[in-house]
C-alpha cells in the first residue's frame, strides 16, 4: 500500500493506493499550521489507513516556501570572502517596477549584522590567491555562535571551481560550533554568479532547521505507529528524494508541493497517450502552470521565488496570483481588474458568509451560474447567493454594468490572465499550444479549462480523476532522483570524448553510490546525461539530452543537429555556421520505483440521462444572455460516455464547464477529456 500526503496552505490531501487492486482512496483534512505533522497524522486517521501496511510514504510540503513567505525560518548567518560582506545583501540591485522612486527590496533572509567575512581568496580558475585563514575563521565561527544563530550559509568567491575553502570552513564549524547546521554553496550549485549562489545557500540554511525538525518528528511518529516502508519527499526538480537527503538539502523542497501535480500530469499523460501536456493547478489564491514535453516536465536551472533567486534545477512552474479567492476591483481609469489580492480562506469570498466584502472569482462563478449554491464542496459549505448579489451590485454600479455583465467580466479577465500564464510557459519558451493538451486540477481548474484552451488554440482539455487531490496522486508516481552537474567548457566540433566520458564516469559513480544507499540495485538505476550548450560567445545555454554517457566523435553531428534545432525552437533563430560550445555536463541519476497501476473505471452504459441531475441557466458574456446547461454527476459517468456542451459536470471537489460546441468524453481512467470547439474546427 502506498500513501501520499500533500500539505497545502488550507487543506492537507491524503491519498491511499492499494497496489494490488489499483484502487485509490482520497480525503482531505484541515492543515494544522502550528504543527503540520499533526495534519498528516489526522489525515491517516480519517482515511483509516494502517501505518504498518505502507510500503511507500510520499510526501510534499510547502513548509519551506511558507517559511520564506512569512520570514519565519531560522536565524541564519552568512559567511563569505573577505571584502565581500555585502554580496548577499546587495543582490543584483535591480527592480521590476520601472517608475517607482520609492521602491524597497524585499527583506533579506539574513540581516547585515549577521554577514561575516573570512580571509581566503581564489581566482576564477580556482587557484589560491590568499590561503584560508583557519584562526580568523574560528573567530568568525565563535562570533556567530555568540549571536545565537541556528544555521549558517557559506559562499566563497569562485567556490564553484574549487570547493576546498568552503570544506575547510565546514571543518572549522564542526570543531568550534558543532551544533550549527551548515550549508556550503558548492554543494547546491556549481555555477558562477556569487549572488545567485549565495541566495540559494541562504534559502537552504534558512529552511533547514524547521525542515529537519518537522521531518524527524513526522518520521518518529510514523515509526512509532509501525511504519517500516520508504519515506520519500517530492523534489522541486522532479522525482523524489529520501528522507535523509531531504534533511541535508532542503533547498530541493521549495516546490515540493506543486511538483506533485506536475509529476502526476506526466504519469497520467503516459497512461492516456498525451505526452505533451500543460498542467494548470488553480487553488484559492494562486495558479501554478507547468509544461510537460514528450513525457518530461521542463526544468529550469535558475528560478526566482518571491524575488529570491535559487540556482538549482527546478521544474519550470509559473505562478500568478489568480485563484478562486482573487478579488475584483475597479482601477482609477474605470477598468475592472481581478487580483492579485486574494480574500484567502478567511474571510474568503462574499458568498461564504464569513464577512468577506469583496467580490471574488468564486462569487462571480456563482453569480453567472457556473457554481451551484446547493452543491458547493458536495454541500459541505453553505453558500449565500444573496450576499454575493448585494456586493456584486455595488461593484457593477461603479462600472456602469449589470451584475451579470460584471460577473461574466470577472471570469473573462481571470481567464485572460490565466491564458497569459499558460502563454509564458509555452509560447514564450518556444512551444506551440496546439501541440499540447491542457490538464487542469485544483479546486477551480475545471471551471476555466475549456475557455483557456480555446483562447490558446489548445485542442483538448483534460480533467483528471479527483482533481482536488491530484497533486497528492502525482506523488504516488515518483522515482527517486539525484542531479549532478560539472562545468566542462569545450568546443563541440573539436570535442575530445575522453575527458567528457571521464566526467560522466565520475558523475555516474556518485549517482550509483547515492542510489545504492537509497536501496536501488543496478537493475533499477537509470542515468540520463545531457549537456548545456550555446553558441560560442553567448551566455545562456540550452540543455540538450545526449545519446549516452560514453560519447564518440561519431555522435557530434547528431548533437550539433539537436542543438541548432532546440535553439531554433526556443528562440526562433539558429546560427547554422557558428561554433557551438558545451558548458556544463549534467547527469540525472534515477532510481526507478515500481509504477502502480491506476484502476480503470467501469464502461458507461451510453445512457447519460442516468447521470443527469437537471439543468441550470448560465450567463455568457459573448451572448449577453443566459444559456441553459445540462448538469451531470461525474460519479455516475462511465468510460466512453459522451456529453455535448453546453453542460456542467459536478463532483464534490470540482465543477467542469463544457461550453456550446465542446464535446466531453470520459476516458478509461475516469478522466474527462473535452474536445475544444473553435470556429475553424
Amino acid at each position: 500500500m502506498r500513501v501520499s500526503v500533500d500539505v497545502g496552505g488550507t487543506f492537507t490531501d491524503v491519498i491511499v493506493l492499494d497496489e494490488s487492486s489499483g484502487q485509490i482512496q482520497l480525503d482531505k483534512v484541515a492543515t494544522t499550521p502550528a504543527n503540520p505533522a499533526q495534519g498528516v497524522l489526522d489525515g491517516f486517521q480519517k482515511v483509516g489507513a494502517q501505518t504498518e501496511a505502507f510500503t511507500y510514504f510520499v510526501h510534499g510540503t510547502t513548509l519551506g516556501i511558507n517559511a520564506m513567505l512569512t520570514r519565519t525560518g531560522a536565524k541564519v548567518a552568512f559567511v563569505t570572502t573577505k571584502g565581500f560582506r555585502d554580496i548577499y545583501i546587495l543582490g543584483r540591485t535591480d527592480r521590476e517596477p520601472m517608475y517607482d522612486f520609492k521602491y524597497k527590496k524585499p527583506t533579506t533572509l539574513v540581516p547585515r549584522y549577521l554577514c561575516f567575512e573570512v580571509e581566503e581568496r581564489l581566482n576564477y580558475k580556482g587557484h589560491v590567491l590568499s590561503p584560508f585563514n583557519r584562526e580568523q575563521a574560528a573567530e568568525v565561527a565563535r562570533a556567530i555562535q555568540a549571536e545565537g544563530v541556528e544555521s549558517v550559509a557559506v559562499c566563497f568567491l569562485h567556490s564553484y571551481v574549487n570547493p576546498d575553502h568552503e570544506l575547510a570552513m565546514a571543518e572549522v564549524f564542526a570543531e568550534v560550533a558543532p551544533e550549527l547546521s551548515v550549508t556550503l554553496s558548492h554543494q547546491l550549485s556549481r555555477v558562477y554568479r556569487e549572488y545567485e549562489r549565495s541566495s540559494t545557500t541562504v534559502i537552504d540554511a534558512y529552511i533547514k532547521p524547521i525542515t529537519r525538525t518537522y521531518l524527524t518528528r513526522l518520521n518518529d511518529e510514523l515509526v512509532a505507529g509501525g511504519f517500516g516502508g520508504n519515506f520519500l519527499m517530492t523534489r522541486s526538480g522532479g522525482g523524489a528524494m529520501t528522507l535523509e537527503t531531504a534533511k541535508e538539502e532542503p533547498a530541493h523542497l521549495v516546490l515540493s508541493g506543486p511538483a506533485g501535480g506536475v509529476i502526476g500530469g506526466a504519469y497520467l499523460g503516459a497512461l492516456i497517450n498525451e505526452p505533451n501536456l500543460i498542467t494548470v493547478d488553480m487553488g484559492g489564491t494562486s495558479l501554478d502552470v507547468s509544461l510537460i514535453a514528450d513525457g518530461s516536465p521542463t526544468i529550469e536551472n535558475e528560478q526566482v521565488f518571491q524575488l529570491l533567486p535559487i540556482s538549482i534545477p527546478t521544474i519550470d512552474i509559473h505562478t500568478i496570483g489568480a485563484g478562486g479567492g482573487s478579488i475584483a476591483w475597479v482601477d482609477e481609469g474605470g477598468h475592472l481588474q481581478v487580483g492579485p489580492k486574494s480574500a484567502g480562506a478567511d474571510p474568503g469570498p462574499v458568498c461564504y458568509s464569513k464577512g468577506g466584502q469583496d467580490i471574488t472569482f468564486t462569487d462571480a462563478a456563482l453569480l453567472v451560474g457556473y457554481l451551484d449554491a446547493e452543491n458547493f464542496l458536495g454541500g459541505e459549505i453553505d453558500i449565500s447567493t444573496a450576499l454575493a448579489e448585494e456586493a456584486g451590485q455595488k461593484l457593477a454600479e461603479r462600472l456602469g454594468m449589470s451584475v451579470l455583465e460584471m460577473a461574466a467580466g470577472v471570469i473573462s479577465i481571470s481567464e485572460a490572465k490565466m491564458a497569459g500564464a499558460v502563454r509564458v510557459i509555452s509560447v514564450e519558451r518556444g512551444y506551440h499550444p496546439k501541440d499540447f493538451a491542457l490538464c487542469t486540477f485544483g479546486g477551480g481548474g475545471a471551471f476555466v479549462a475549456a475557455n483557456i484552451s480555446r483562447e490558446l488554440g489548445i485542442p483538448r482539455a483534460i480533467i483528471p480523476p479527483g482533481p482536488g487531490n491530484f497533486s497528492a496522486l502525482g506523488m504516488l508516481m515518483v522515482d527517486v532522483v539525484h542531479d549532478y552537474a560539472r562545468t566542462h567548457i569545450t568546443d563541440l566540433a573539436e570535442l575530445d570524448p575522453v575527458p567528457v566520458n571521464a566526467v560522466f564516469g565520475e558523475l555516474a559513480d556518485g549517482g550509483r553510490s547515492a542510489l545504492q544507499s537509497d536501496g536501488f540495485d543496478t537493475g533499477s538505476q537509470q542515468f540520463l546525461p545531457s549537456a548545456e550548450m550555446r553558441y560560442r560567445g553567448q551566455e545562456h545555454t540550452v540543455n540538450i539530452p545526449l545519446p549516452g554517457m560514453s560519447l564518440s566523435t561519431d555522435d557530434i553531428p547528431e548533437i550539433t543537429r539537436r542543438f541548432h534545432e532546440a535553439h531554433e525552437q526556443q528562440y526562433g533563430h539558429s546560427m547554422l555556421g557558428d561554433p557551438i560550445e558545451i558548458v556544463t555536463l549534467r547527469l540525472r541519476a534515477v532510481g526507478v520505483l515500481p509504477r502502480p497501476d491506476l484502476a480503470k473505471v467501469a464502461a458507461g452504459t451510453g445512457n447519460i440521462d442516468a447521470a443527469r441531475k437537471g439543468s441550470r441557466q448560465v450567463y455568457l458574456r459573448e451572448l449577453g444572455q443566459h444559456q441553459e446547461y445540462q448538469v451531470y454527476d461525474r460519479m455516475k459517468l462511465g468510460a466512453g460516455d459522451r456529453i455535448e456542451g453546453p453542460a456542467i459536470i459536478e463532483e464534490p471537489s470540482s465543477t467542469t464547464m463544457v461550453h456550446r460546441g465542446d464535446v466531453l468524453t470520459v476516458g478509461e481512467y475516469g478522466e474527462l477529456s473535452i474536445d475544444i470547439f473553435t470556429e475553424e474546427s
Binding site: L90, R92, Y99, F101, R112, Y113, E194, G333, A416, Y571
Partner: protein, 571 residues
Amino acid sequence: MAKLDSITVQVIHNYLLSAAREMERNLMRTSYSTVIYEIRDFGLGIYDDQCRLLAEAPGLAVFTRGNDYGLQKTVEFIGKENMEPGDLLLTSYPYWSSAHPLDVLAISPIFALGELVGYTAIKQHWLDLGQKDAGYILDSVDVFQEGLLMPGVKIYKAGQLDQEIVNLLRFNSRMPDRIIGDMNAQISACRTGERRISELVTRFGLETFHEAIEAIFDHGERLARARLAELPNGTWEAEDWADDDGIDHDTMLKLRVKVTITDDEFIVDWSGSNPATMGPMNLPIGLTEGVTGLAFKGITTPDTPANYGNYRPLKVIAPAGEMMHAIPPAPTFTVWAALLAPEVILKALSRGLADRVPACSGGDVFDIMGVGLLPDSGLPWVEATNEAVGFGAHAGGDGEDGIMHLTEPGCRNNPVEVLETKAPWLIDTYRIRPDSGGPGLHRGGVGVMRSYRFLHPSGFLSLVKKTKSAPWGMNGGGDAAPGKVIVWPGTAKEEVTGAVNYPMAVEEVVENYSGGGGGWGDPFQRDPQRVLADVRDGYVSAQSAREHYGVVINAKDWTVNETATNDLRNG
C-alpha cells in the same frame, strides 16, 4: 460594431504586455554580451502604426521614451509607404535615436491582414561601432567622432539579409563577432514581437485592434489625469549641476527646470539650462523628452504599465541649440545630463509637493568600463558595470540602500565572478558605503564601493558626472555623500575624480564609490531604535549617530544610551 467592451480591451492589453516580456526574454537568452544579459542595457517596446507606445518591458527606463522619438523620426525619414513585411531597420543617428551612436535602435514593422499595424523597437548597447576610442567617448567635439551613423538602414529588406551592410558593420567594429551576435539576438527579439502582434491582429481583426488600442491609450490617459488632479496647481523651479562637459574640466553644467502643474497639463520647461557644450554632454531632444516623461510617469502612474496615453498631459519645452536640445553636429555621446534631469524635476516639485517626492538619489549610474586585449588569446575585451546608488528618502520612509538609479530600473550589477572571468581584473572589495546616506527622520539610502585591480595593461574609463555637488536632502534632511572615483588610491599619484579615460598598468587599482540618497526630515526626530538598528547593521557609524542623529549607542550590548541621547537631543 458597438463601442468595444472594456473586457476585450483588457484581454488585448494583457496580450501586448506578454508579447513585450517575451521579446525581453528572447533577447536576454540569446545575446553575446554581459551588457545585455547581465546588465540589461536595453529598452524595448511595441508600438502602433503611428509610433505610439503600446507596451514595454523593464530595462533602461531612460531608453524607452527616447525610442518613441527615434521610431517616429526613422519612419518619417524612410516613409511609412516604403515599409515592407520582413524589413528590419537600424538607426544610430543620435538626434533621432535619442542616445549615442553605440545605442543602436532596431525597428521592425509589423504587418497583419495586409496592413502595417505597428512596430517593434529595441535599443541596445553595441560594444563597438566606429567610434574614435575603444569602449566609450568622453571628449568628442562633434558627432562624427562618435560612431557609425545609421539613419534607418534596412539591414533586412523584405526578409532578405543585406550582406553588404553586415560587412560594413563588421569592418567598422573592433569586435565584429560580438556585435553581430548581439545584433542577431536583437533582431530575433524584434521578430518575436512582430509575430505575436501579427497573430493578435489576425485573431481580433483590424477594427477591433484599432478600437482596443485607442481604448488602451484613453485608459492610460485617464489614469494619469486622475493622479494629476490630486496634485496642487503651481509653478516651481530648481537647478542642479553636472560635473563638466569632458573638454573643459573646470566649468560645471547647469540644469535648470521650471515645472508648472495646471488642471490638465504638466509642463516642464528646460529653458535657461546650459548653452550647448563643447564636449559630449548635449542631449538629443528625444532623450530630454524621454527622461522628462520618466519623472512624470514616476510622479503620476508608477504602478501601471506605461503606454502613450499616460503622457498626453505632459508638455516638454527645451530651446533648440541649448544643452538640453542638441542640434547637429553637436557632440552628444556621454548623455549624462539625462541621468540628472529627472532628479532636478523632483527637486523643483519638492518645493510644492514635499510629501510626494523623494530627496535626490545618488544622481548618477556610476558606470565604469575596462578595455584591452585578453592576456591568453589576444582578443579585444570590453567589460563594464553600473553601480547601485542610495535612493532619496521621502515622507513615507527611508530611501532604499544599494539600488540602481531612477533611470535604469531593470539594470543589474555585473557579478564579481563574471567580471573576473571575462576581464583581467581582480576585484578587491565590493560593499556598501557606510554613512553615505543623508541623515533624516527618514534616512537616505547608502551607495556602494567596488575596487578593481588590473592584472594586465588595459584602458580604464569612468562615466561619472555627479561628484562635485552632493545629492540634496529635503525638508530638513541632510545631504548625502556624493560619488567619486579614486584612481591609484594610497599612492603618490592618487587622483579623486569623476569621468576619466586612463591607461592602467599591472597591479594598479581604481575604486568606484557611488553616491548615497538625501535624507528627509529632521534626523533628531528619528526613532533612536531605528538609529540603533542602522548602527548595528553598519549603515550608519556610531559617530554619525551621535553627530547627526543625536543618538548615543552602547556598542557592548547594542542598546540606546537614553540619558546621553536625551542630553544631545535636548541640549
